[in-house]
Amino acid sequence: MTMQDVVNWVVWVSGFVIAIGVLQNAIYLSQLVLAWLALSRRTVVEDSSNVWGKLSDATMPISILAPAFNESKGIVQSIRSLLSMYYPNFRVIVINDGSTDDTLEQLVEAFRLVQVDRDYPMDIPHRPVRGIYTSEMHSRLLVIDKKNGGKADALNAGINVARTPLICSVDADSVLESDALLRAVEPFIQDPARVVAVGGTVRLANGCLIESGAVKKIALPTNLLALFQVIEYLRAFLMGRLSLSSIDSLLIVSGAFGIFRRWVAVEVGGYSLGTVGEDMEIIVKIHRHLSEKERDYEVVFVPEPVCWTEAPENLSTLARQRRRWQRGTLETFFKHGIMLANSRYGRAGIIGFLNILVSDVIAPVVELFGYLVMPIFYFSGLLSFEFFAAYLAMTFVFGIFLSVGALALEEMQIARFPRARDLAVLTAVAVLENFGYRQINNLWRIQGWLEFLRQERGWGAMERKGLSR
């Protein structure tokens, strides 16, 4: 091999790394533009009292499914918060998934639960139910006590017991805005024939003042890692999910807050067991099933903030979470690989799956490869300045535009951050996150890839400080 061959090889490899970077950033840029268009075209956003006046007569009954496993500490507060939702006709179904602590006892005592005999259709198989309880205090509350089978299995039991046309999956430790259901159910009201699932924006509650299970004051976290995640969530929800929803390609509705038509959840066999990305997998299953049945349907994303969740504030917990997310995405991608670029599955298969292929399957690997080889190529004199500058632009600089762009989108269309100072802090964070945090995050995604290849199954522990005060 001559020196010229080596240089040619280096140019080809560098060109490939840059091309993937360009492709990935082009996808993000188009998402930013689509999200901008979607937000600017949406109809008037009402305040809470107007939403009630406008929609309360038209809402459909809904069952909120809250799976709980060893949530003894915060379960009572969380369920009280859910019971105080601002919605005309709903039921809260708590599924105690074989907790080994006193979660059930806490519920029995706090809500004066009594065991009842109840028949329900066994539409989806799940682990045996040990008992069903109703509350003497709250007619809206139902508690299912079942053998441990994981979150997906618990949700499946909840779907069976629910007797409402809509079901809403929530995380027992998240905080919903009081009008979250009303706002999120609106797409079902506007287009009852087509809409089968709706996802809402999830935001980070770190730093916010939370009392009695409700966000009383929105504020930024003081922890830098959490601040980085505030920007990430803005990008993921406001830019990514909204844009994909606007072109019928949304492949995920967050497990922390998602509403489904019960019949569609039953038809696809409920949540799949043995996956760590069950929230994404059920949406992909819905796309696949309804496309194969050639039905007209829609999965919608609601941009208004509806659900607040706690972000990890230390590196090890965050790393576990990101590895798990990556693993879940890959599991779903390869399990339903037939949908990739397959016109039978419409835009979900063509745009949604290609987006995953580039952004989640290929890009992390290529980007890591770039971190390793591009500086070596450049400093050994094998690569020109233009190549190296283009690589740096794709890896570090363009991300600033995307993050700040998402923040600008939030401020111009939603404006939930209460103070100008918050915006200044977040702008600085949006710049900073591209230098270090993005690279570490990419490393975790590669670890997730490796875990996927090793077929690891566990969730890993999630350390939380707790939201309620």
Partner: protein
């Protein structure tokens, strides 16, 4: 090389531009926060003055009002209108007309911002005048669906007469029925002009629109509609038959009994389930044996509704349910479920 240069230079320019743009937004926020604080203060002042004007303790004469003040007053009045009645509402309309609020609102109807048009329609709902009615009618063809529906809500609650069929055509009800927001509108429409709604049902070729209008008839509270709704049970459309039964359930008039009895054996399960519910709502105790047979229906929902209706029909129905509850067949299981639900609710 030119392409590579374009990549890094454009990235750098976009990054710098985004930070500069965000800086402008931050400055804008500082000013808008200050303006919002001033607006809040002005609203409080106007609110105080307006309430005193309603009491007759303050005169507006000589007070300089801008168009934004008038819009703000309309918004204050709209909020207040939800909690006041009778003569005070008329006083409010008089006070607002005297200071040019109606004119400002009529002008705002052509504002390109849908939020402004929305506020203007809400404000104009306080003025029961022909010119406000005509102006709001024009918005039944607004490009924004929310605005169209809001205009429709205001029109059906006004005191001016209009043709229900023309209203439905102008609103393009056939395309709007996907929204359940239409329901309270058609209910109000049917309450004020049930015959007009019936004519529209007969003339419409859109099955979704017909179903929505049948829903309205049920909520009209007009017993005179019972025979017409019973006639609609012969429609070939399942949804129309089911909705007609729902409407008869709401009206709860015994004249519907024969039609409901026949619907208990309808080939469509949705209609059978609805007929079972209607039988209980109307109080048709004589159909208990038919409902008992429906406990063996192939559809779970029909069994469930039949069991519920048996319970609601009183002693005879409950005896039949209890007799079935000992079994472990589908009829027994659904009887157990309904008995458990009902006794829990009672406890």
């Amino acid at each position: 090389m030119a392409l590579l240069n374009a990549i890094w230079i454009s990235s750098a320019v976009l990054a710098a531009a985004s930070v500069a743009g965000m800086s402008i937004l931050i400055v804008r926020r500082v000013f808008s926060d200050a303006a919002a604080a001033r607006g809040e203060k002005r609203r409080n002042e106007l609110e105080g003055l307006f309430i005193r004007a309603l009491d007759g303790t303050t005169e507006w004469g000589g007070l300089a009002l801008s168009d934004s003040d008038r819009m703000m007053l309309a918004s204050i009045a709209f909020d207040l209108s939800k909690s006041i009645r009778g003569g005070t509402l008329q006083t409010m309309e008089h006070v607002l007309s005297g200071i040019g609020v109606e004119d400002a609102l009529l002008e705002a109807l052509s504002n390109p911002d849908p939020r402004v048009r929305r506020s203007a329609i809400n404000g104009l709902s306080l003025f029961d005048t022909r010119r406000s009615f005509d102006a709001v009618w024009q918005l039944l063809s607004d490009p924004n669906a929310d605005i169209r529906l809001l205009a429709a809500r205001v029109i059906v609650s006004s005191s001016f007469k209009f043709d229900a069929k023309v209203f439905c055509e102008t609103l393009e009800l056939g395309t709007a029925v996907r929204s359940r927001e239409v329901r309270p509108i058609v209910a109000a429409l049917a309450e004020r002009d049930p015959d007009g709604v019936l004519r529209t049902i007969r003339a419409s070729r859109n099955p979704d629109a017909r179903v929505m209008l049948i829903y309205g008839l049920g909520r009209s509270g007009k017993y005179g509609m019972v025979d017409d709704l019973a006639d609609l049970l012969s429609s070939p459309n399942v949804n129309e038959r089911a909705e007609s039964l729902r409407a008869l359930s709401v009206l709860q008039h015994p004249a519907a009994a024969d039609a409901v009895r026949q619907a208990l054996t309808d080939p469509a399960w949705e209609v059978r389930a609805q007929a079972a519910q209607a039988a209980a709502d109307i109080g048709m105790t004589d159909v208990a044996p038919a409902l008992e047979r429906m406990l063996d229906d192939e559809m779970w929902w029909v069994r469930y509704r039949a069991a519920e209706s048996l319970w609601l029909l009183g002693e005879q129905g409950q005896r039949l349910l209890l007799a079935h509850s000992a079994g472990s067949d589908p009829a027994g299981l659904v009887a157990q479920l309904v008995i458990a639900e009902r006794t829990e609710a009672a406890a």
